[in-house]
């Protein structure tokens, strides 16, 4: 869909012996995996199995009880995943009082990484997400699905190699879900990686992590 004008530099995302707890309960223990350019990891599991906890932990919002999760470049230098990742949670981070364009311009400035600038404008990104008409509307007026699309537009405005998506299909209609699948495929084709928690199949080739399943 979007013609990829660039590709992300080579990197390796390495998680080793990760453990996360929530409310005093260990939900994830001794988890190790490795992702490189173009790989995806889909996380499934029942409610309360720790999907969100794991994703929030990888995004750096929770500190790990044990283990590390780092992003290494070719030279072996490593950074935290948080500084290189887009996190899409249950909230969009949009201010209801501001227009979609204002919200997106803010997140573009806030989340852009040095050396990975995008030429897209907020309006162009909204058009790519199929909601060009909402640019001038305060986000408070939008429907849940429209808000979701506005939120997802930031993934295009500030290119980051890692996408961390918690239930990304929520609130999207069938067309929106297909659109998101295309966006994810493009991202992987550009050499990005993504980690998504989901109940519904995402339609992408991926590693599969099942939490809390039968041992």
């Amino acid at each position: 869909m979007t013609e990829s004008l660039f590709s992300f530099p080579t990197f390796r995302l390495e998680a080793q012996g990760l453990a996360f707890a929530r409310g005093g309960r260990t939900l994830v223990e001794d988890l190790s995996f490795e992702l490189t350019n173009g790989n995806a990891l889909v996380v499934t599991g029942a409610n309360g199995a720790g999907k969100s906890t794991l994703l929030r932990g990888l995004a750096g919002f929770l500190s790990a009880h044990a283990g590390t999760a780092l992003l290494m470049d070719e030279a072996g230098a490593h950074e935290t995943i948080a500084s290189q990742a887009h996190y899409v949670g249950h909230q969009e981070g949009s201010k209801p009082a501001l227009t979609a364009r204002e919200n997106l311009a803010f997140w573009q400035a806030m989340l852009a990484l040095p050396g990975l600038k995008s030429d897209l404008t907020p309006d162009a990104a909204l058009a790519l997400l199929g909601v060009p008409q909402v640019a001038d509307l305060p986000v408070a007026y939008l429907s849940a699905g429209q808000k979701r699309r506005v939120g997802l537009a930031r993934l295009l405005l500030a290119p980051r190699p890692v996408w961390i998506l918690d239930e990304p299909l929520t609130a999207l209609d069938a067309a929106g879900q297909a659109l998101l699948t295309e966006l994810m495929k493009d991202h992987l084709a550009q050499g990005g990686t993504l980690i998504a928690a989901t109940h519904a199949p995402l339609g992408i080739e991926s590693l599969h992590l099942e939490l809390g399943g039968t041992p």
Binding site: F61, Y87, W107
Partner: protein
Amino acid sequence: MSPSPLAALFSREIRVARRLGGGGTMGVIFFLILVTIVPFAIGPDLNLLSRIGPAILWIAALLATLLGLDRLFQADHEDGSLDLMLTSDTPLELVVLVKCLAHWVVTGLPLVIAAPLFGLMLALDPQALWTVTLSLLAGTPALALLGAIGAALTVTLRRGGLLMAILILPLAIPVLIFGVSAASASTSATTPFWPPFLILCALTLATLAAAPFAVAAALRHMSE
């Protein structure tokens, strides 16, 4: 092309404040109401008013600064902005500083500008108008920063406003002491202006240097 992250954050904060509740005007109206209530409570004795006027203005400024402070980070926590800011390249300490600056520009600065006017209503003499305004200008940023600590600690609490006030009022007492002390310099012959004023400035600078770290630490821990 795109503005720097901190500039973008500053303009966003100002815009949000302007569209919700008219930004600074609400704080100034609250300030006006507090100043109006006092003469009703203690009687319209102009001598008394001019003597305690600086203290009234300071207490009013303290309470007006608390207004809306509980939403400073709570709103960002609820709509997910805080999470996204944590993934930004910009250190959270700087984000906090800019948010506090914006909050001060919207709530503190209008008070400082309005203070001489309200001072006239409290029968302050011209010199006292100056000292009150200067001390408020120097002291209110410290109040906003200290308030941010309380706001960060109560970020996840639905009804954290009262708790926030309990947490930060003891911290604000030194600022209040030196602020009032500098402000009443002209009304009492024995109190000099400069020593308490310089200490007030030192307090503000110290808060400016230390509070962002405390606030950022609190936000990281409390939003886990």
